[in-house]
Amino acid sequence: MDNVFAAGRYLSWGVVSISVANVVIVLVMLVVFALALLLPFPSDRDRTPAAGGGPAPADEGREP
């Protein structure tokens, strides 16, 4: 059979088999998620106390 149609690289443990490409994508996503949680977000000096801003629907009530 032609090598043109050779499969990519795969990792296997027991019944699990996943392509290297997919693993990389998922790992990158997990790292990005962790970074998103950990990296400091630019704060804003212009904070005001609770002022609202016009009419707002009440969100409180029974959960959810």
Binding site: I25, V28, M29, V32, F33, L35, A36, L37, L39, F41, S43, R47, T48, G53, G54, P55, A56, P57, D59, E60, G61, E63, P64
Partner: protein, 211 residues
Amino acid sequence: MTTPVSSQVATWTETVKNRLSRALPPDQILPDRQPAYVSSWIYVFGVLTLAALVVVMASGGVLAAGGSSWWHTSGLGHFVNSLHLWSVEVFFACMVIHLWGKFWMAAWRGRRGLTWLTGVIAFVTSIATAFTGYLSQTNFDAQWISGEAKDGINSIGVGSWFNVLNPGQMLTWHIVLLPLAATLIAALHILLVRRHGVVPPLGDEEREVPR
């Protein structure tokens, strides 16, 4: 003496206008301030998903302009196809990270259950859209995927009506019906976020002191 306006029956337009204004006050559609607790990078993944969707649709639009076989014979077409594939990967990656974030924040609190629900529906609709996209490739992938997928769809009795072996049907679902559905659901989802505001931090409810 003229009849006071308030005693006249509201026109359809007035009714719709009043309902919309009550549901979504104009200054809430595009606020220029957010609660101070909106202060984490996790919050950008919703807008990243939306932005990626724009790139997906723009690249898809160029592919549509070229026709369903264009990308097989044109170098530019192939590049646009690559752009479409990778923007879809970015779209799904951002959407899933957004879902992870919203789950761990329990973002459905405070009557935001419908926001969560529309988010899940948007996710599932996106998968269906991607699925019909894979079926529209007119290459070996499309042959194999359609051959396999038909078994799943036939097994639940839907195959007569939704025929994955029919590229013409799959293409029209992919470029008309499903993007329309995905856009409408995403719009509803975003309007719900604007309406309810970003969910307050977990644990704040315990701090309140009823008088």
